[in-house]
C-alpha cells in the first residue's frame, strides 16, 4: 500500500477539526512524522492526530468519557500505523481489505455509533488504495465501500480527498455473495 502523503493528511485533519493549520515534518532517516507545537515535539501520526483532537476540544471524536471507546479508538489508530501503513505487497493489502470489510459488516462506524478519529485516520490511510480499486473490487468489499462512501460524504474534505465514485447498484453477479 502506498503511504498517503502524511503532510496532506495532517493539514486535512486540522481543517476538519477547525484548529490552526500546523506544519509537520517527516524525519528522513526514520520516516517518522513529527509535529512541533509550542516547543513540544509530538512524534508519530496517530499521536499527532490525537494531539490535534485534544487541542480542538472535540472529545467526542476520541470516545468522550467512555474508557472502552477510547481504548477501541487507540486500537484502530494502532492498526492504521502498524498494519495499514506497513503493507509491503498486494497480499498484505488484500488481507487488510478483507479484515476491515468483515469488521464493518454490521457497523456504520469503527467505534460506537458516531464518527471518531478511528474513522478519520482509516479513511485517510485507505484513500489511495480504495482509489485504485475497480468497481468490481469495490463491490466485493461492499461493507468497506459503504463505510468509506459514508465517511467521505460526512467529512467533505474534497480539496484534500476528492470524493471517489461508488455504484449504488449491484453491477456484478456473485461477487458480493457471502
Amino acid at each position: 500500500m502506498k503511504p498517503s502523503e502524511v503532510e496532506n493528511e495532517v493539514t486535512a485533519l486540522a481543517k476538519y477539526l477547525q484548529v490552526k493549520p500546523c506544519k509537520c515534518t517527516v524525519d528522513k532517516k526514520s520516516g517518522v512524522t513529527q509535529l512541533k507545537h509550542n516547543g513540544q515535539t509530538v512524534c508519530g501520526l496517530a499521536s499527532i492526530a490525537t494531539f490535534l483532537v485534544q487541542s480542538s476540544g472535540q472529545t467526542s471524536l476520541y470516545g468522550g468519557p467512555c474508557h472502552l471507546s477510547q481504548a477501541q479508538i487507540q486500537q484502530w489508530l494502532e492498526y492504521r500505523v502498524a498494519i495499514v501503513d506497513r503493507c509491503l505487497g498486494e497480499r498484505d493489502v488484500a488481507l487488510v481489505l478483507k479484515e476491515l470489510n468483515a469488521f464493518l459488516q454490521h457497523r456504520v462506524y469503527f467505534v460506537g455509533s458516531s464518527l471518531s478519529l478511528a474513522d478519520l485516520l482509516l479513511y485517510f490511510g485507505l484513500y489511495a488504495t480504495i482509489n485504485q480499486l475497480t468497481f468490481q473490487e469495490k463491490e466485493k468489499h461492499i461493507h468497506l465501500s459503504r463505510w468509506f462512501n459514508n465517511i467521505q460524504r460526512q467529512v467533505n474534505l474534497d480539496e484534500f480527498y476528492p470524493q471517489l465514485p461508488f455504484s449504488l447498484n449491484h453491477l456484478y453477479h456473485g461477487v458480493s455473495a457471502h
Binding site: 500500500m1 502506498k2 503511504p3 502523503e5 502524511v6 517527516v26 526514520s30 520516516g31 517518522v32 513540544q40 509530538v42 512524534c43 508519530g44 501520526l45 496517530a46 499521536s47 490525537t50 494531539f51 485534544q54 474508557h67 472502552l68 477510547q70 481504548a71 477501541q72 487507540q74 486500537q75 489508530l77 494502532e78 492498526y79 500505523v81 502498524a82 501503513d85 506497513r86 503493507c87 509491503l88 498484505d92 488481507l95 478483507k98 479484515e99 468483515a102 469488521f103 459488516q105
Partner: protein
C-alpha cells in the same frame, strides 16, 4: 473480562502488570498460539481482551490503557500516546524480526537494536520514568516489549546505564515481579520461545515516496 492468550507471551505480560496496578482482575484463558480469537481478523493476534458485553480489544497497549483508565491511573499526556505508538511500530518492527532469530538459536545483529535502546536511554537520562517522574502505560509497554531480550541475555542493557537501572527498578516492583513470574512460571527465557516464534511480524515502514506534483 476474559483475556485470551497463549503461554509465555510478553505482550500479555504488559496487560497483567496493568491489571495488578489497577486492581482490576481479568480471567485468563489459554489458547493455542495459532488460534484466531477475534472473528474478523485473518491472523492470530494475542492477547485479546473480551469485555463483558462481548467487545474485543486486540491491541495489548490499548488493553493496558483501558485497565489503567478504569482505576484513574491512565494519563492523557500526549507523550504516553507517542511512546505507545513508537513501541507498536518502530520498536516492534525491529524486535519482531530480531527476537525469533535470537530465540531460534541463530545470530541476531544487535546493531539494529541500538537506535531504539539509545532513545530509551536518552529519555531516562533526565527523568525517573519515560514520561517524567510518574509510572505510566509507556513504562509498562516498553518494559514488556524489552523483557524477552533481558530474559535471554540479562547483560543486554549493560551499555545503557539509565535503561539498565530503570529496568531493574521496574523488575523489583511487586506488580511487575509477580506478572513476570506468572508469564514465565519461573523458567526464564525458555517459557517465552514458543510464543515469540509464533507472533506476527510488524513490517518496516515502506519508504515514503514524495509524489511530485
Amino acid at each position: 473480562m476474559k483475556l485470551f492468550t497463549d503461554e509465555g507471551n510478553q505482550h500479555t505480560l504488559k496487560t497483567l502488570i496493568a491489571s495488578k496496578l489497577s486492581g482490576i482482575s481479568v480471567e485468563l484463558s489459554h489458547v493455542d498460539s495459532t488460534e484466531i480469537v477475534v472473528p474478523f481478523l485473518r491472523r492470530s493476534v494475542l492477547p485479546v481482551l473480551q469485555t463483558d458485553d462481548g467487545n474485543h480489544l486486540f491491541s495489548a497497549n490499548a488493553i493496558v490503557r483501558y485497565l489503567l483508565s478504569q482505576s484513574g491511573k491512565d494519563s492523557d499526556d500526549i507523550r504516553v500516546t507517542s511512546w505507545l505508538e513508537w513501541e507498536s511500530t518502530e520498536l516492534q518492527s525491529v524486535l519482531s524480526s530480531h527476537l525469533p532469530v535470537l530465540y531460534g538459536g541463530g545470530k541476531a545483529d544487535v546493531q539494529n537494536l541500538q537506535p531504539c535502546l539509545k532513545k530509551v536511554e536518552d529519555t531516562l537520562s533526565g527523568t525517573q520514568f519515560l514520561v517524567q517522574d510518574k509510572l505510566t502505560a509507556a513504562d509498562i509497554c516498553v518494559f514488556g516489549a524489552l523483557y524477552p531480550l533481558y530474559a535471554i541475555n540479562p547483560s543486554c542493557f549493560e551499555k545503557h546505564s539509565k535503561l539498565s537501572s530503570w529496568f531493574t527498578k521496574l523488575s523489583s516492583d511487586p506488580a511487575f515481579d509477580t506478572s513476570v513470574t506468572s508469564i514465565t512460571k519461573g523458567k526464564g527465557s525458555s517459557s517465552l520461545k514458543a510464543s515469540i516464534l509464533a507472533q506476527p511480524v510488524v513490517n518496516p515502514l515502506p519508504s515514503r515516496k514524495s509524489s511530485s506534483k
